[in-house]
């Protein structure tokens, strides 16, 4: 292509981008003479150059547009939305022709007579008339550039809702004469360089930085050589050069924004909304490569804000907000990153719709939704295929939006987050690195290999003890200890539980250096989640040049690239996003299994408040808080001895006290006591110290090794023994319980429904059956149980109390047996009344077996037998 044409194209494209912005500005401030002069000058230049280069079609369109603008400048016409629209249409045509020119080197053929006629009419002051004529028939569009043409074809219909739609001719008001010739054009201080040259420079500088680092590393080992001083200088010059070359690649973010005013303007016309776009920090500079990559996501998000975020003027009025909605773009530097905020003052994200959509797509269950915070819900919009717009508009709402935005931003090492307040608007915050080529990274070691972690995602470094033995960790060092839930390491960090991954395990590096008792934890931020990466050692940070990994390694998602360190060795760069995905943390990575809905929340594996205490040893013990009636702190002198056993006067009665550990410490001035009661009986369990109340899943994993302990469960990350209240109750009241305690080994996971009105026994039976290997659902009444049946809950057996309010056990059994999916289930009655007549009545009602309350062994044996019979039957 002709060099002249190529230069013309570059220049014209820039002018056109400026024109879009300037025209929209003019529309808002029609009296701004500077803007007007700028527009006129730009169009004039385009026209002039076209004439010079022999591009007749372009010249005609530009000329017609210039005439309109000339009239506006002279004050004959005013810059109404209609005038601006017709000029914008002309610019679109110019763009279409220019892109044709760029593709083929020649002006594409086409007929612009209609557009020119419209422009001429506008120039003559007959805009409204034209607008009625021109759009009535679509222009024959022979040009190949269909897309650009589409916009150009339609001179905006005169449907502007504002008062400004008065005939333009009526607005011919004398204007002050424009300043002569505009401002002087400053001397040309810039030269054009192709991007390739800059890219090559950048690559060379990157290599230079690496070589410099290598030299420095070498020099560090040799002291006082003659090289030291020149090397220092070389190092400084290299840094300056790096900075300088980086600067050449820097562009103001406004370059990525210059299409937005036009977009918002068109959007507001199309959607009949009033939108004001405010752009702050447009001169914030960032690497042009990054700029290119965020252009599309930004455009998409602004469009979303205008389309979904902002309400119609009527809705806004009703909500007591100004009619004009506001979209604000804000860019600024923050610690080596660029932060871009896109906010609107619209209605906020519709949480209800998001919830419905989540359910409809099976991304989470209702029960899970209940436990989610609003922020968590809102983040679902970053999931693939998630659009809450019920109507798919031409503008947005095709469900390909935010996940693509998120992926694109993560691709350049950035992060995106959002904050939405119902009725007050939504703010998206994007954090991206200044440049992609050179990043600061933390060098760590795991399994004798070194890795780089980009500094952008590192939040902090923590040194922690690798699982010190139990008991040892109570020793009181300030250093945190890595604890384990099952085999999953976690760390308590400022009262939060931080999930950990061991880099050794994750990357299958084999043995770690186990001689050291400490480990370093690199806390990284991935989206809204924090994650700790356990490494063996941490070195310093280093500036590294990110190089992509070889294509045959692309499928290893844990790495975002590789680089060469100062000592010349190759090192892999870890990708925290990839690690999070690999470990199932973070949006998009979780694979939620869909469970059977609301009934799950009753399961015994759900959170239970547990009281933690100590007795006899440093080892913590736990008891379900629901079983404890009161916590008492009794003065020593009030503990008396009756029949050889300690008792105390409690609420006007004698309450037996049982020591958890052997022997009573009579020295202590006060005694902590856990009080259990049922009906009018109570007993006190004497313990050393009450530690805490925590909420955790009660899942008994080991059955009790000694009497008095139900088994061991992981509570708040510690293996904790759960005491068997039943055992201790029998210690106080011989007749409270019978039989000793030997829970069966779990044989299979059978689901058992327990119907029991007494909270105490419900809490008691649940862990007992849980320890015997059953999955227990406990409900307080027969009606509740029947509701579960209607919800479609499935069980293998039912254990029910007989004497209950509303519907007693016998009625319940009859109802179950009468019909429904539970009709064939084994049912075991659990009652304090064990007279033969009672047993008979129970069997008549449909109970399979009848077990005396508190006979835990009998209950478990009966359950086992019933279930076995059922299998055989």
């Amino acid at each position: 292509m002709d060099d002249l044409i190529a230069d013309f194209l570059t220049e014209t494209n820039e002018s056109l981008a400026d024109l879009d912005v300037a025209l929209v500005k003019l529309e808002r401030t029609p009296d701004d003479q500077d803007t007007l002069s700028l527009i006129f000058r730009l169009v004039h230049t385009i026209k002039g150059t076209c004439g010079f280069l022999g591009l007749p079609r372009l010249e005609k369109v530009a000329h017609a547009a210039e005439s309109v603008l000339g009239k506006v400048r002279d004050g004959v016409l005013s810059a109404t939305p209609d005038t601006v629209s017709i000029v914008l249409a002309a610019l679109d045509r110019v763009k279409a022709i220019v892109s044709g020119l760029a593709a083929t080197g020649n002006e594409p053929a086409g007929d612009d007579s209609e557009l020119i006629a419209a422009l001429d009419a506008a120039a003559a002051g007959h805009a409204p008339v034209v607008a009625q004529e021109a759009p009535s028939e679509p222009e024959p569009a022979p040009e190949p550039e269909g897309e650009a043409e589409q916009e150009a074809v339609i001179p905006e219909p005169v449907a502007a809702p504002s008062a400004e739609s008065r005939p333009v001719a009526a607005q011919v008001t004398p204007k002050p004469a424009p300043p002569e010739g505009g401002e002087p054009v400053p001397a040309n201080q810039t030269i054009r360089v192709t991007v390739d040259v800059l890219e090559d420079l950048m690559t060379l500088v990157s290599e230079l930085v690496l070589t410099r680092n290598q030299l420095l590393q070498l020099a560090r080992t040799q002291e006082n050589t003659g090289f030291t001083v020149p090397l220092q200088r070389l190092s400084h010059i290299t840094s300056d050069l790096q900075e300088g070359v980086m600067k050449t690649r820097m562009q103001p973010i406004g370059n990525a924004w210059n299409k937005l005013p036009r977009l918002v303007r068109d959007l507001s016309r199309e959607m009949d909304k009033k939108i004001e776009l405010t752009m702050l920090g447009a001169d914030t500079e960032l690497d042009r490569q990054v700029l290119e990559l965020i252009k599309d996501p930004l455009t998409h998000m602004v469009r979303n804000s205008g389309d979904h975020g902002l309400e119609s003027p009527a809705e806004r009025r009703a909500a007591g907000k100004p009619e004009t909605g506001r979209i604000t773009l804000n860019a600024f530097h923050e610690g080596g990153h660029i932060i871009i905020e896109i906010s609107d003052d619209g209605k906020g994200l519709p949480l209800d719709k998001i919830r419905n959509k989540i359910l409809a797509n099976g991304l989470a269950t209702e029960a899970e939704l209940v436990g989610m915070s609003d922020t968590q819900l809102q983040r679902f919009i970053f999931r693939p295929g998630f659009s809450t717009a019920s109507v798919v508009t031409a503008v947005s709402g095709r469900g390909v939006g935010m996940d693509v935005v998120k992926t694109n931003i993560e691709k350049i090492g950035g992060t995106i987050d959002l904050k939405s307040v119902p009725g007050a608007g939504t703010t998206f915050t994007i954090k991206i690195p200044l440049t992609l080529a050179i990043v600061s990274a933390l060098i760590v070691e795991a399994g004798k290999e070194r890795f780089a972690i980009p500094q952008i995602s590192v939040v902090e470094l923590v040194h922690a003890q690798k699982e010190a033995g139990r008991g040892h960790n109570e020793g009181g060092g300030t250093e945190p200890v890595i604890e384990r839930i099952n085999d999953t390491p976690v760390l308590r960090l400022r009262d939060r539980l931080l999930p950990l991954v061991n880099l050794n395990d994750l990357l299958a590096l084999g043995e770690s250096q186990s001689d050291d008792t400490g480990a370093y934890i690199v806390v990284v931020q991935v989206g809204a989640n924090s994650l700790g990466i356990i490494v063996d050692r941490v070195f310093d940070t280093e500036e590294i040049v990110v190089k992509p990994v070889a294509p045959i390694l692309r499928h290893v998602t844990m790495f975002s690239g590789n680089t060469i360190l100062g000592d010349g060795s190759v090192i892999m760069i870890l990708d925290p996003n990839g690690i999070a995905r690999g470990t199932g943390i973070g949006a998009g990575g979780e694979s939620k299994t869909i469970s059977s809905g609301a009934v799950d929340q009753y399961r015994s594996s759900d959170r239970t408040a547990m009281l933690l205490f100590r007795a006899g040893s440093e080892q913590k013990l736990a008891v379900p808080l629901g079983l404890v009636a009161r916590l008492e702190d009794i003065p020593r002198e009030r503990i008396e001895v009756s029949c050889g056993s300690p008792v105390t006067q409690y609420r006007g009665k004698l309450m037996p006290l049982v020591a958890f550990s052997d022997g009573l410490d009579m020295e202590k001035p006060r005694q902590s006591v856990l009080v259990f009661n049922d009906g009018d009986r109570s007993m006190g369990l004497m313990v050393d110290e009450i530690v805490d109340v925590v909420e955790d899943r009660l899942q008994i994993e080991l059955s009790g090794a000694r009497p008095g302990l139900l088994g061991t469960a992981v509570i708040a990350g510690h293996a904790t023994d759960v005491i068997d209240t039943g055992y201790w109750l029998t210690q106080a009241w011989q007749d409270w319980f019978h039989g000793d305690h030997q829970p069966d080994q779990p044989d299979s996971v059978r689901r058992v429904l327990v119907v029991e009105d007494s909270g105490f026994f419900r809490q008691l039976v649940t862990p007992i059956l849980g320890a015997a290997g059953y999955r227990v659902t406990a409900v307080p009444s027969a009606l509740e149980a029947l509701r579960l049946r209607e919800d479609g809950a499935v069980f293998d057996a039912i254990v029910s109390d007989i004497i209950m309010p509303d519907m007693d056990g016998l009625d319940f059994a009859r109802t179950v047996r009468a019909s429904g999916p539970w009709a064939g289930l084994p049912m075991i009655a659990l009652s304090a009344r064990t007279e033969p007549s009672d047993v008979e009545a129970g069997r008549d009602a449909g109970f399979t077996d009848y077990v005396a309350k508190f006979q835990r062994e009998a209950l478990i044996a009966s359950l086992k037998q019933c279930l076995a019979e059922q299998v055989m039957g």
């Binding site: 690496l210 290999e449 299958a508 294509p551 045959i552 290893v556 844990m558 060469i564 010349g568 190759v570």
Partner: protein
């Protein structure tokens, strides 16, 4: 690339000569077309790449470029070399990326006559047949021509 060479060789004059870099892997003499070779490296520090396919020995730094090393023994499903044996590498380019083929020994560059070339014998084990584009009869031993393109065609499935 090697396969092109071969086809042309067959059609061409028997006296036409092809130039190969010869190398040994597990005592077998092999050759790769010299035009595809960018560099020969001695023992080099190689960084392990976790989670990579076993054939990938790691990556190394060749004058500021990162080169992915492919272990030829593993690629050809041959036993591991003795632990103390130094390894050499033949560097080749594929799709703009550099790869180093880790071999036991790189020896001379040979010009070989097309008349000495033969197709793979059908009895060649599949591991070899997959990557060999033919055999040259030398005076007292045989030279297997390796197809570098196929050797480096490691995909996710590999």
């Amino acid at each position: 690339m090697a396969s092109d060479v071969m086809e042309r060789a067959e059609a061409a004059d028997d006296e036409e000569e092809r130039v190969f870099v010869t190398l040994t892997v597990a005592d077998q003499l092999c050759g790769v077309p010299v035009l595809g070779v960018r560099d020969i490296l001695g023992e080099h520090k190689i960084t392990r790449i976790p989670l990579a396919p076993p054939e990938i020995a790691g990556s190394l730094n060749l004058r500021g470029r990162i080169v992915t090393a492919v272990d030829l023994r593993r690629r050809l499903r041959l036993p591991e070399p003795p632990a103390d044996q130094p390894r050499m590498s033949v560097v080749a380019e594929q799709g703009g990326e550099l790869y180093a083929l880790l071999v036991d020994q790189v020896s001379e560059v040979m010009s070989l006559k097309a008349s000495a070339f033969e197709r793979n014998p059908p009895t060649l084990p599949p591991a070899w047949a997959e990557f060999s584009s033919g055999i040259y009869r030398l005076e007292n031993r045989l030279l297997v021509v390796l197809d570098v393109g196929k050797l480096l065609a490691l995909t996710e499935a590999a």
